[in-house]
Amino acid sequence: MLQSGRGSIPAKAGIGLRFPHHQAVAETRPAVAWLEAHTENYMGGGSSLRYLDTIRRDYPLSLHGVGLSLGSAEELDAAHVARVRRVVERFEPGLVSEHLSWSVVGGTYLADLLPLPMTEEALAAVCTHVDEVQAALNRRLLIENPSTYLRFRHSTIPEWEFLSRVAERTGCGILCDVNNIYVSACNHGWDAMAYLDALPAAAVGEIHLAGHAVRTLDDGRTLRIDDHGSRVAPAVWALYAEAVARFGPVPTLIEWDTDVPALEVLLDEAARAETFLRQVEHEHACADVA
């Protein structure tokens, strides 16, 4: 039996744990409901793992992977699955997540979350790999929608339907990255609200929020780039309000990876997300009474 998607992570706002904040978090124990770490950053030994051991004693922890390459046409890297399993066994996280993307071909790791063609063949590959990883870890995965900067001509399935079908076929949950929906919707002319509407609410086990950049190309057109390098954009907060209205209070993470700021900035963003969660919790409670 696979463990439930929400595990021990509370329906509150958490922050992404990055190396520059290890010591501050371990020593000052800031008031934040939970933390999320990148699985790939804890595959060796030494002080990073000891910090995470310490931090894990004080906070619910989620592990977010970037390297499984669930969308590869070829087989998963068994050694990497084994590394992920070791990290999961050591830290016993409340949630484990990965991406709807690929990064490995011919044994080369391309170090990015690359876009998939939205085809039946890719859907089958992703589902097979999600099944394999869920079996290897003996637990449910959450799969995150990506930010994308291109679409393939031969795609036949809308991304929101593709993701929903992965969840339906494999029993995995969905990590709804609201910033990614906004970025991809802007880049491809999609309707972000329709994307949210299409996701199965019961499968959404976590939400991600982050900042993005706007890049102007040579011809003056713009693309939004998911760089996790700034505060959450106002339009993304607005979309987040729509997301929690649909999905209810869901564990929500503030991510920041480029030019990581002082811990206080992340805590401030988390506090803002918390106000949305408390609001929707209040509304749900009122609706229950009525």
Partner: protein, 260 residues
């Protein structure tokens, strides 16, 4: 438009060629062209790919970066990334071949000691990320019979590494990371070779110099040669003391018995 849709594997191979070899033709033909050049869209991914790996190299080779400057480092890093992209999603393991790559790179040939600094930084990086292992049961070791002790073959801690370098890379590395220009200026790169022991201690990474005899003794120990051979062959003054030091510093983490 009339070309058949690629399989997932064909498409992924095409994107690989685009990112690593700047060969966009096949991948670009598969991308919706709605006014933004498909090659520019692929370029966004290539940038992320290159910057993520450049950053991984920057973290592993901070002294090399300072010695050659940011611009030169990024240039070399990009060429290295395209020539030797990672074979694993565990980026702690990425960059093993960088020192050898530097020896073939003419623009930095004037810094003859640079590959040695890179070799040291890679060994330090390996030590930083090596797995944690249980300590050796010293009680068990010391209660072995003499005949058993003679046949002991040790396993070193996974963080332990030995280097024999032509240049005083340890002194250069320390001065560069400390931004101590006076110390750096005082180093004669022609003094060498140096023999180094790298290992992760409780307090952090330790890099120490050994003399030739101590280095050879330690190398034989770390290679798992039976203890009596290692002691017999030892040329250092007090091999038992050095063995005790390695044990006390937890540089040896397990043992088994040689046959016979």
């Amino acid at each position: 438009m009339s070309t058949p849709a690629p399989t997932l594997l064909e498409l992924q191979r095409a994107v690989h060629r685009s990112l690593c070899a700047h060969d966009d033709a096949t991948a670009a033909a598969c991308i919706v062209n709605d006014g933004i050049d498909p090659a520019a869209r692929l370029g966004i991914y290539r940038n992320t790919f290159a910057s993520a790996l450049t950053n991984a190299l920057r973290l592993s080779y901070p002294a090399v970066k300072r010695l050659v400057g940011v611009e030169c480092f990024e240039g070399v890093a990009h060429l290295f990334i395209e020539a030797e992209p990672p074979r694993s999603a565990n980026l702690d393991d990425y960059g093993a071949g960088f020192a050898e790559f530097l020896t073939r790179f003419e623009a930095v040939a004037v810094l003859a000691y640079l590959p040695d600094v890179a070799r040291l930084e890679w060994t330090v990086n390996r030590a930083l990320h090596a797995p944690d292992v249980a300590s050796l049961d010293l009680g068990r070791l010391y209660t072995l019979k003499e005949e058993e002790q003679a046949r002991v073959c040790f396993t070193p801690h996974p963080s332990a590494g030995l280097l024999r370098l032509d240049h005083p890379a340890d002194a250069i590395w320390r001065a560069v990371l400390a931004r101590d220009d006076a110390a750096l200026a005082a180093i004669d790169p022609a003094t060498g070779p140096v023999r180094l022991l790298v290992h992760r201690a409780e307090e952090g990474i330790e890099v120490s110099r050994l003399d030739e005899a101590a280095w050879c003794f330690t190398e034989a120990l770390f290679a798992g040669r039976p203890l009596h051979f290692v002691l017999e062959d030892a040329l250092c003054a007090d091999p038992q003391l050095l063995l005790a030091e390695h044990l006390a510093a937890e540089r040896l983490v397990a043992f088994e018995f040689a046959d016979g």
